[in-house]
């Protein structure tokens, strides 16, 4: 019998609520900590993350949680495409990655920003 995955509710800075599976939400050490230490209600407020950024973060986590572990090539091209975006959105993602403490996401976005800087140097 398939077990029901527990759902977590995340509220963005502009009050939009996103419902996500717990496994996905736990990619964020910040959220994981809040839930494990009972610091949050039914809905977790994320006042530093706007909804369009939060949507993208969720998209990243979903891809990384659901992808088979050995499919590195696919993940790599997903990641490369994912950060091929407008600089301001990249900054937003970096900020969120740091605030939500998602290491792989912070690595990805930081490297992308470093690449941009090196190109300009």
């Amino acid at each position: 019998m398939a077990s029901e995955s527990k759902m977590i509710m995340l509220r963005s800075s502009n009050n939009e609520v996103f419902e996500v599976e717990e496994a996905l939400a736990f990619e964020s050490q910040t959220i994981k900590h809040m839930i494990e230490h009972d610091c949050a209600d039914t809905v977790i407020p994320l006042p530093k993350v706007s909804s369009n950024i939060l949507a993208k973060v969720i998209e990243y986590c979903k891809k990384h949680v659901t992808s088979p572990k050995d499919d590195n090539n696919e993940l790599e091209s997903f990641d490369a495409e994912f950060v091929n975006i407008d600089k301001n959105v990249l900054f937003g993602l970096m900020s969120a990655a740091n605030y939500l403490n998602i290491k792989s996401f912070l690595d990805l976005t930081s490297q992308a920003l470093a690449d941009i800087i090196e190109e300009k140097c």
Binding site: N88, M94, N98, L106, D115
Partner: protein
């Protein structure tokens, strides 16, 4: 929408940016980036130890883990820099011992290092891992003993061509039995025997040992055992490669080399007995680097070896290879990137080997990836240089040393201006160039016009007058290091291009036509340059100002004049004086 990042995020981003150039650019973006960057810079390269002081470095970069410092000018390699010139690392080590308790790496080139320094290093930095001393001097095996004994986590000890006072081989036994961290050990420059049993035990208990370069005193008989203790070696420098002909030694060596599946680089090969060369045939195919610059073997043996090294990227060899061997190199080694051919008999009058410009032309034709060349030979022609230039526009370093000074094009008896002109015109990415042969101001006109990426230029016995130097100083936008000997360059070009000198690391001129008066003017006009007059005839103040000085070394600095000069060096100060140094 403007995002203000917490500093640690920016710092994290900067940790992905490692080249000095990019780091320097990042630090100039704004004050807060300057601050963040300076706290997270871990690695620093100082191309001239007198350009900046230890205090300035420490003040700006408080968390350095890795330092690389260079001292004497390059012409020190040709004995043009007198003994006692300077380049002492002691003030750096003292300052760093207080400021950088977590320092892990020190890399030095052409510096004077004392045993006290080595002891201080070994005791001050608890996590010290890497010590590389390239062409250094001033220390003995006692200093090495301190390093071996006290550096618990030592990974690299590399003495590359340093001059070491070799008191005994016992220093090696100072590595404690608990030392298993070595990754790289290069003792090739040491003269005396080291304790073999200590060496064998050290090698076999360091599972990560990747590079081992032995000295000449390690006999061939000891090699198989050493290799069996370290089959994971990637680079090996043999000791003397000679022994009486014994089939069992040959097969033992063959066995041992066959077991080294990861070997990529070979060097050493003193006193080669050719009959033992087949022992390395099993590894030839995998080799990317081969240094035969001590191997006095003849062309057929070299060729036999090279014909099996299809993956070679770097070859250093004596001119015994001859044109024939270079032809084989050109046919076999399609991945060759760097070639250095050294003279077996540089002071001999007659040519002893059949190596000419043809060998280099062959290699330039056959090796599409060739980018770096150092070639000693006895004749050259403009036509060959033009061919080489057209074959290899991807050259980055080109150093040609025709042994006889002012040698003409051997076919036309003309200067070699056109040939070198073709090199700079075709090789747009050229960063380093050494000239030789008969050259007029023309060649400098070509260089000034075309060599826009040139960073280092070496000139000897060349040019007609100041115009040549003027072309170089005014035209070469990327020039960082210029070294000139025995050429008629003088005051006019220097003074007309004085400001250029502040954009360069250094200028060396010896046996040229620079007057003391011009030096004084330079010192006055450019306070951020140190203008050092080297003259072993006594103070230049005792001669007329129009008198030519012996040697001149000018470098930019933010540290002001130095105070460790010997009594034959005068630093021109801002008033244009070079006061007698008070001992």
């Amino acid at each position: 929408m403007a995002y203000s990042f917490p500093e640690e995020v920016l710092e994290y981003v900067f940790s992905f940016i490692n080249s000095d150039k990019d780091r320097n650019a990042v630090s100039l973006v704004c004050k807060s980036w300057y601050e963040i960057e300076r706290w997270c810079r871990r690695r620093i390269f100082i191309g001239n130890c007198y350009a900046v002081s230890p205090g300035i470095m420490i003040r700006r970069f408080p968390e350095i883990r890795s330092v690389e410092i260079k001292g004497k000018p390059h012409f020190a390699d040709f004995n043009l820099v007198p003994e006692g010139w300077g380049g002492y690392v002691y003030p750096w080590v003292i300052a760093m011992s207080r400021a950088y308790p977590w320092l892990e790496e020190i890399r030095l080139k052409r510096m004077v290092v004392s045993d006290e320094c080595l002891e201080l290093i070994s005791k001050s930095f608890k996590n010290f891992k890497v010590l590389v001393m390239s062409s250094c001097e001033g220390f003995s095996t006692d200093g090495l003993a301190s390093v071996a004994a006290n550096c618990r986590n030592l990974k690299e000890l590399d003495l590359r061509e340093s001059e070491v006072e070799d008191l005994s081989g016992h220093w090696l036994s100072h590595f404690p039995d608990t030392c298993t961290s070595l990754v790289s050990l290069n003792i090739a420059c040491l003269g005396s025997e080291v304790s073999f049993s200590a060496l064998e035990r050290l090698v076999s208990r360091c599972p990560n040992l990747r590079m081992l370069q032995l000295n000449r005193a390690v006999p061939l008989e000891k090699l198989p055992n050493l290799l069996r203790g370290a089959p994971q070696l990637a680079e090996l420098g043999t000791g003397a490669y000679s022994a009486e002909l014994r089939p069992e030694l040959l097969s033992s060596l063959l066995d041992a080399f066959t077991g080294c599946k990861k070997l990529k680089g070979l060097s050493g090969f003193w006193d080669v007995v050719p009959a033992y060369l087949p022992a390395i045939y099993p590894v030839c195919h995998g080799l990317t680097s081969l240094n035969l610059s001590y191997a006095t073997i003849q062309s057929p043996d070299i060729s036999k070896l090279i014909s099996q090294c299809q993956n070679l990227q770097r070859l250093w060899v004596l001119d015994y290879i001859e044109d024939g061997g270079l032809d084989i190199l050109a046919t076999t080694c399609k991945n060759l990137e760097e070639l250095r051919v050294f003279p077996s008999d540089p002071y001999g009058v007659e040519q002893n080997v059949s190596l000419t410009e043809q060998g280099l032309v062959s290699v330039s034709e056959g090796c599409p990836k060739l980018q770096s060349v150092l070639y000693f030979c006895r004749r050259m022609s403009n036509a060959s240089l033009v061919t080489i230039a057209q074959n290899r526009p991807n050259l980055i370093r080109f150093r040609l040393c025709i042994i006889e000074a002012r040698a003409t094009d051997y076919l036309t008896l003309e200067p070699l201006d056109a040939g070198f002109g073709a090199i700079v015109e075709n090789c747009r990415e050229l960063r380093r160039l050494s000239l030789s042969g008969l050259l007029t101001d023309r060649v400098f006109e070509y260089i000034g016009k075309h060599a826009k990426k040139l960073e280092m230029l070496s000139i000897a016995f060349a040019g007609d007058g100041d115009l040549g130097l003027h072309h170089v100083l005014s035209g070469c936008e990327s020039l960082r290091k210029l070294e000139i000997r025995d050429s008629p360059f003088g005051d006019k070009a220097l003074l007309a291009n004085a400001a250029k000198l502040e954009t360069m690391r250094s200028l060396w001129m010896s046996s040229c036509s620079v007057s003391y008066g011009a030096c004084k003017l330079l010192g006055q006009r450019l306070p951020r340059l140190n203008v050092e007059v080297i003259d072993e005839r006594g103070t230049p103040e005792s001669r007329p100002e129009s008198c030519h000085i012996e040697k001149l070394y000018i470098y930019r600095t933010v540290a002001g004049r130095r105070f460790d000069t010997p009594d034959f060096i005068w630093t021109v100060d801002e008033e244009g004086n070079a006061p007698l140094r008070i001992a």
